[in-house]
């Protein structure tokens, strides 16, 4: 079986361009939550030597000078376009496994070519995508990477070409090899993916990890990461504050808000979390930067917002010291499908009933949010008003595809 990877090119920038033909070939950058730093760039912006992660205030002049179009992140738009890309891909190939907002793996059907798939999605949704097809997921990633540099934006990597592709792939560009691992490998004279495939499996296992061993197998054409396995393993919700926060109460509020957003995400994906992690951080560009992080295991896997908030408060109490905080993040970890939750065998009936009631409540709250808009109902701990004021999004584009009052206007002249 051959595995395909569909990856949207400069996804956020492409979404911003979809209804703005005037922005074709123009440099575009998208800012993070609260307009803090650059999180996505168009090809033209990358050519100006702008980089992901640059603080906005540091490059504002450069952006102005080069007439770069700046947008606040419009996740409502990006999610809708992502759903369309996934739907279109599913209609074409059958089984898909979304990996992130702009990537999905799929089983490559015999009756289609990589370029067919690319052309169909790019035309039908209006977002340029690249397709890589190879024997394993890790190789499909590499094929996709090379495909992006070709005019067809697609590459079907045949077995006999694999050696050449691996030779051309630097170690840090391999899927699953992070900075640290790459450094370690380079120190041992392993520079390319091809070098890695020549290593002894025992040595890899001893010095790196089991996942690196999986990567090695995948590079050799042996599937080690199944398509279904790569579903989201954790979810994160975070924010940088519009003004500095110092007191415990202020942080508790912010953390509670993030737990609420996270809870909504979990319910929407029909997932429950087994543990959550909290991180609060001060300004990275100032002295004495701190970013404490800690994790707590939940009594039982849940997506029940009050339970998430209670657990988060316990962690926050542990890590909080008075300081000038710039933002916070909350992660939900070890996710499982909600339906499969095991009821606790040794707990009382009433306890299990309570759990079922919590599940039911979570879905009702979610329904209310969906029907009447988010923020209409929330836990008291979030201080409701706050969620409205948290974000600064001065350069937000319209929600072209999800709000009637925002649909693009076409001039009939």
């Amino acid at each position: 079986m051959m595995v395909g990877l569909c990856d949207c090119n400069n996804f956020y920038a492409s979404c911003e361009r979809l209804f703005r033909p005037d922005l074709k070939d123009k440099p575009i950058v998208i800012l993070s939550n609260n307009d803090g730093c650059l999180i996505a760039l168009s090809k033209e912006a990358k050519a100006l030597n702008l980089k992901r992660g640059m603080p906005y205030f540091k490059c504002e002049q450069l952006l102005k000078k080069n007439n770069v179009h700046v947008f606040s992140s419009n996740y409502t738009l990006y999610q809708d376009i992502s759903d369309r890309v996934m739907q279109e891909l599913k209609d074409l190939v059958g089984i898909i496994s979304p990996y992130s907002i702009d990537e999905a793996f799929f089983k490559m059907p015999k009756h289609l070519s990589a370029q067919d798939i690319r052309d169909k999605i790019s035309q039908n949704v209006g977002i340029p995508v690249s397709i890589g097809v190879a024997r394993t997921k890790t190789l499909a990633k590499i094929a996709n990477h090379i495909g992006k540099t070709l005019e067809s934006n697609s590459l079907y990597l045949k077995k006999e070409w694999e050696g050449k592709a691996l030779y051309k792939t630097p170690i840090e560009e391999i899927w699953g090899i992070g900075k640290k691992k790459a450094q370690f490998l380079r120190a041992h004279n392993i520079f390319t993916a091809l070098d890695l495939t020549k290593q002894n499996e025992l040595w890899i296992r001893k010095n790196l990890s089991v996942t690196t061993l999986e990567t090695l197998k995948e590079l050799k054409g042996i599937p080690a990461i199944s398509i279904e396995n790569s579903q989201t393993q954790n979810l994160c919700s975070g924010i940088s504050f519009s003004s500095i926060r110092t007191t415990y109460e202020e942080l508790e509020q912010a953390i509670s808000c993030q737990c609420t957003i996270l809870g909504e995400k979990l319910v929407n994906k029909d997932l429950v979390a087994s543990s959550i992690s909290i991180n609060i951080f001060t300004n990275r560009f100032e002295e004495n930067y701190i970013a404490p992080i800690s994790t707590i295991y939940l009594e039982e896997p849940t997506n029940y917002i009050p339970a998430l908030i209670n657990a988060a408060k316990i962690v926050l109490k542990k890590i909080y010291v008075k300081n000038k905080y710039k933002g916070c993040r909350v992660w939900a970890n070890n996710l499982n499908k909600a339906g499969f939750r095991q009821l606790e065998l040794f707990k009382s009936e009433t306890h299990n009933e309570l759990l079922q009631k919590q599940d039911a409540l979570a879905y009702v709250v979610n329904d209310i949010s969906k029907t009447y808009g988010r923020k209409k109902i929330s836990s008291g701990a979030t201080n409701n008003l706050e969620r409205n004021n948290l974000q600064r999004r001065d350069m937000l584009s319209p929600c072209y595809t999800t709000k009637w009052e925002d649909i693009p206007v076409i001039n009939l002249k």
Binding site: V85, N124, L412
Partner: protein
């Protein structure tokens, strides 16, 4: 198990009113999505502003339902990108030549000479107008 000792599968009282004679014929009510949204992933809505398509029945303020997955044919109403702008016109293909034809006598046909800066966004499949 003996034959004369039947197993009881269920013991629930059943409410027995007179059954609706139409219950088996129930179908879903009319769904506008079925009518307007043939390909959900490739359909976008745009709002018309202006009167250059008047004669086709498209008026200022109408919502245009546009399907990007359809191949445009001669005489289709289309949304096109031309010289960095969206435009809505009737597509006229005469042999090798392509025209964008407005549906209003005050406007003139545009012949597409610069294919480089021309691309079709999609075909207008429906028009939605609410009256009150």
């Amino acid at each position: 198990m003996k034959k004369d000792n039947p197993t009881i599968l269920m013991e629930i009282p059943i409410k027995c009113g007179f059954p609706s004679p139409a219950a088996d014929s129930r179908e879903n009510p009319l769904d506008f999505n079925e009518l307007l949204l043939k390909h959900r992933a490739s359909t976008y809505c745009l709002k018309a502003s202006g009167d250059s398509l008047e004669k086709s029945g498209i008026l200022d303020g109408d919502i245009l339902v546009v399907d990007k997955s359809l191949e445009a044919k001669n005489n289709d109403l289309v949304i096109a990108e031309y010289e960095g702008e969206f435009t809505a016109k009737r597509l006229k293909i005469k042999g090798e030549r392509v025209y964008l034809h407005p549906e209003n006598n005050n406007f003139e046909d545009i012949e597409i000479t610069n294919l480089e800066s021309f691309s079709l966004f999609g075909v207008i499949t429906s028009v939605v107008r609410t009256l009150r």
